[in-house]
């Protein structure tokens, strides 16, 4: 059951071979068994979850099920869900029970999906290893000593260890794609504005975007069908015509189903900094695409190296302001002892936020300060436009861009915690996509051996033009029909 696709589960539910309560119970059992070690979930509420499953079964019995009705999904703890504790991985919100639903949660509820629980994450989505979470680090199911990536690390471990049928994540600089690469599953960050940000706790508003994390492109297409859509409560939500993201998923009818597809390889993504074993896996995957009929062309994204400095000006700038609301006045952590108002602010925030969040608030406050704004924030905005321009030029030469999603396989827990810059470099291939607002995804492309001989997953990143998710999914789907990397499961779960 745990390796079934969402479509197969839906068929089994429709045929009464299994009930949602049964599927859900099975996942809850697996979670009870593995979560104490893996720590993929911060909050579980089996009673609420099973009630939702029972309601889904009723709906299926009444014959008005939708494709995801009764399917148990893990929700990143960044989405407010009414009645659920919503922590965003922070002590600041340790006891915050959301009184309202995020747009994404509403949509899954309306579709009849079941909320299995809230997944662990880097604090306020700031991190690439899930080690900044107040609720503890998450194990990578492929090697428990290693990190799952971040910030959607809990969701990543949950999908990889089959603790849920699929999960949601959010991606500000690579937080869906890098963990998808490190944990060996499929993760998609849609075009900025495609999925509502309403009720999704903000890190960097102009970059944050929610997306699906699942076992296959087909599953992601079904998830995106529910998630995507205009929301009038989010001013940056785009009014885009409703699409069926499964419509381009075709069985490979010939040897060369991708004939006519032009795939661009940015030379900057294969330069210094990319682990050799990772490069080999990615190149093999590209060979596979060649075999599927795709034409491979060399392209350049000349400003790639600037994306990290630009990101680490803009994202902290927005974050420093977005996180000002956590002041201990209305909700969230408030220091128990303080002398006056200023002392209450200082102590509440000093106690409530972790080191990485504080580091970014400091950076953000600095770059927005009088006298520095032009040199940092304004300059970064200008370069951001150049980075987006790089992609516009590239897409004149190709339909799809491919490359690695992360420069290395999963690293050991603790390895980079004291070296923020090396941690930030984890996102070197993913950040530019957020800065440009483009869709990007990572799909399993094979394994590279660790130093101690363990196989560690490697992801292939596929970047599309704006609103080209349906094509990206079909390109990934064609690959997943001729490879089985995405069906591999770690041992011991």
């Amino acid at each position: 059951m745990i390796n079934r696709s969402l479509k197969q589960l839906a068929t089994m539910l429709a045929n009464k071979q299994i009930s949602s309560v049964e599927i859900t119970s099975e996942y809850l059992k697996r979670i009870a068994q593995h979560n104490p070690e893996i720590n993929a979930f911060i909050t579980l509420n089996p009673e609420k979850t099973l009630a939702q499953a029972a309601a889904a079964d009723q709906r299926i019995a009444q014959g008005n099920a939708e494709p995801l009705t009764g399917i148990p999904l893990a929700q990143k703890d960044i989405f407010c869900a009414k009645g659920w504790r919503t922590t965003c991985g922070s002590k600041m919100l340790e006891n915050f029970i959301a009184p309202y639903d995020a747009g994404v949660i509403e949509r899954f509820d309306a579709a009849g999906a079941v909320n299995l629980g809230k997944t662990n994450m880097d604090e306020f989505a700031m991190g690439s290893s899930n080690e900044t979470s107040y609720f503890g680090k998450v194990q990578n199911p492929w090697d428990r000593a290693r990190v799952p990536g971040g910030s959607s690390g809990g969701a990543a471990a949950a999908v990889a260890a089959r603790l849920c049928a699929a999960a949601t994540g959010t991606d500000t600089g690579g937080s869906i794609r890098q963990p998808a690469s490190l944990c060996g599953f499929s993760g998609l960050k849609p075009t900025y504005g495609l999925v509502s940000r309403y009720g999704m706790i903000a890190f960097a508003s102009s970059l944050d975007q929610a997306g699906p994390m699942a076992k296959s492109c087909e599953d992601m297409a079904l998830m995106l069908n529910v998630m995507a859509g205009f929301d009038s409560r989010d001013s940056t939500s785009l009014e885009h015509e409703k699409e069926d993201y499964t419509r381009k998923l075709k069985d490979n009818s010939s040897d060369k189903p991708l004939a006519g597809l032009k795939v661009g390889l940015p030379k900057e993504y294969f330069a210094e900094g990319l682990d050799g074993a990772v490069a080999k896996v990615v190149n093999d995957a590209i060979d596979q695409y060649r075999k599927l009929g795709a034409e491979i062309v060399d392209i350049s994204l000349p400003n790639t190296m600037l994306s990290i400095p630009v990101y680490y000006v803009l994202a902290p700038a927005e974050a420093s302001s977005n996180l000002s609301r956590y002041d201990g006045v209305r909700y969230g952590h408030r220091a128990s002892q303080y002398d006056d108002l200023m002392d209450m602010y200082c102590k509440s925030r000093a106690e409530g936020f972790g080191a990485e969040v504080k580091r970014r608030i400091l950076i953000g406050t600095y770059v927005l300060s009088a006298g520095y704004y032009d040199a940092y924030y304004l300059k970064a905005q200008q370069i951001r436009r150049l980075i987006a321009q790089d992609f516009t030029e590239a897409f004149k030469q190709c339909d799809i861009i491919m490359g690695p999603a992360a420069p290395s396989t999963a690293f050991n827990a603790g390895e980079k915690v004291d070296d923020p810059v090396s941690m930030y470099l984890q996102d070197i291939y993913t950040i530019a996509v957020n800065l440009a607002g483009l869709p990007g995804m990572s799909i399993p492309a094979g394994f590279a051996s660790s130093d101690d001989g363990k196989p560690l997953p490697v992801g292939l990143q596929i970047i599309g033009n704006y609103f080209d998710e349906a094509r990206m999914l079909s390109v990934g789907h064609a690959y997943q029909q001729v490879t089985d990397w995405h069906t591999r499961m770690p041992e011991g779960v």
Binding site: F96, P99, A202, S232, S235, T236, S324, V329, R330, Y373
Partner: protein
């Protein structure tokens, strides 16, 4: 003024926070009605819960464009909402959404009249922003209560150039702006409830200097009287300080109405660095010319246009025309009266500015609450114009109308107040008076004009004021042979 104003010149600029008359908040659907129980109008956006987002209320943009058109300003085709970052307990997000570099309304102007002179005050800009909540002190046992009902209320901050040179000019500008925002129906103008609040920047400099002195900002003045007092006090304080060899430091000051003094609240040097940057949750505000035209079509005629019309169509003097356009309600009342009356507009103007205004003032009522409607007033004016009643009787009838006793005609009938224009009746009264006042008749005949007026008075008295005064004059002159 006590200070030596031959040597010093005061320079004044105003920042006015105008609360817009929308139904809901500027970035959420919560109500903005005044006086609700604390925090009952604080939705998830007002409280700034994690994950909530702002959505611009188009009605607020409509209001801003209206003001822009009314002050003949540039409406920016693209303006940007920015975050002004600072911590305060009644500022739930830790930042205020405002407009900084690119405001919605650019340079405009407003013409004021002071001492019979016209002066044009330039308005630098007007920008949209959200109001903060309120901190409530007391009743909380040493703690502070926070009411977020007001948080997110739409404001239009209207910033003038430092073009005013006296407290009188500043007050005239503020009053004119106050009239205008109500006239175009974007603000209820209620100063007690804080719908119209002024911050006044005051500096002084030696006369003839073209360099501005250091300014101090008087915050949150909520009456014109206080504004006048505060500016006068502040000006004098600054001049005295400079004349005593002191220097003025930039500061924010508060006016204490009890002492009539201004006092520094905080020094600007310690002020926050607000770290303004464009709000990434909101797209730039784009205003098309089609939208501007749509708003223009809903604009009422503006006071200065109506003044000109009053002068031309009704032949009123500039003074009367200005007084009758001090609010849209007064202008509408006047026009309605003239239309119903159909007679000489000057007579209508005199009554609207005279008896009506006096009564409203006395009873602290708005013209919309006047118990005498334009139609009722017109009924009275008709009877004055056709000599049915004298001016004196008209006053008496007006009082009765105000008291709700009905139309002028019905009161005239009921009280028998119709003017006596029957020459036979008047002659009879005149003869009685002449007989009874032989001494006065003798004086008149001796050439004493005063005695003639005395006789007229006697006749009027005998007729209980109802005799037509012109006829009385004529008949008397005939009888006395003068």
């Amino acid at each position: 003024m006590a200070f030596n104003n031959t040597k010093w010149e005061v320079v004044i600029g105003l920042e006015t926070h105008t609360q817009l008359k929308t139904k809901s908040k500027i970035f959420s659907g919560a109500s903005i009605a005044f006086g609700a129980e604390p925090n009952t109008q604080a939705c998830v956006v007002s409280i700034a819960l994690p994950g909530v987002l702002p959505v611009l209320n188009k009605e607020a943009v409509h209001c801003a464009v209206k003001l822009g058109l009314a002050i003949n300003a540039q409406i920016a085709p693209r303006s940007v909402f920015a975050r002004k970052n600072y911590f305060y307990p009644d500022l739930p997000k830790g930042y205020q959404i405002s407009q900084f570099e690119l405001p919605v309304v650019g340079m405009g102007e407003l013409t004021i009249q002071v001492g019979g002179e016209e002066k044009t005050i330039r308005i630098t800009r007007a920008h949209l922003e959200e109001d903060a909540g309120k901190s409530l002190h007391g009743d909380f046992h040493g703690m502070t209560g926070i009411d977020l009902n007001r948080a997110g209320t739409p404001l239009l901050e209207i910033v003038s150039e430092p073009d005013m040179r006296s407290a009188a000019e500043a007050v005239a500008y503020a009053k004119k702006l106050h009239e205008l925002v109500q006239w175009i129906d974007i603000c209820d103008g209620n100063m007690q409830e804080g719908s119209f609040r002024c911050d006044v920047n005051v500096s002084v400099r030696p006369k003839g200097s073209d360099k501005l002195g250091t300014r101090r900002e008087i915050k949150n003045l909520n009456s014109f009287k206080f504004m006048q007092q505060a500016i006068e006090y502040e000006t004098q304080w600054q001049i005295e300080t400079l004349e005593d060899g002191g220097t003025i430091h930039q500061a924010t000051v508060l006016f204490n109405p009890d002492t009539g003094e201004t006092r520094a609240m905080r020094s600007k040097e310690e002020a926050n660095d607000y770290r303004y940057f464009p709000d990434p949750d909101l797209l730039p505000l784009e205003i098309t010319s089609a939208f501007i035209e749509q708003v223009r079509a809903t604009m009422p005629e503006l006071p200065h246009a109506i003044q000109a019309k009053f002068e031309q169509t009704y032949g009123l003097a500039a003074y009367d025309a200005t007084a009758l356009t001090s609010s849209r309600a007064i202008a509408d009342y006047f026009v309605a009266t003239c239309t119903a009356f159909g007679g000489e507009a000057k007579l209508a103007a005199n009554w609207v500015m005279g008896s009506i205004a006096a009564k409203l003032n006395e009873e602290n009522k708005a013209i919309a609450e006047s118990p005498v409607s334009p139609e009722l007033l017109a009924g009275l004016l008709k009877r004055i114009a056709d000599n049915t009643i004298s001016g004196k009787i008209a006053k008496e009838i007006f009082e009765a109308m105000w008291a709700g006793e009905g139309s002028a005609d019905s009161i005239i009938d009921k009280k028998g107040l119709k003017q006596i224009s029957d020459s036979g009746a008047i002659e009879a009264i005149v003869e009685q008076v002449l007989v009874a006042n032989a001494a006065m008749v003798a004086e008149v005949k001796a050439g004493k004009e005063k005695a003639f007026n005395g006789l007229v008075g006697q006749v009027m008295k005998a007729s209980k004021g109802k005799a037509n005064p012109a006829q009385v004059n004529e008949v008397l002159k005939n009888k006395l042979g003068i």
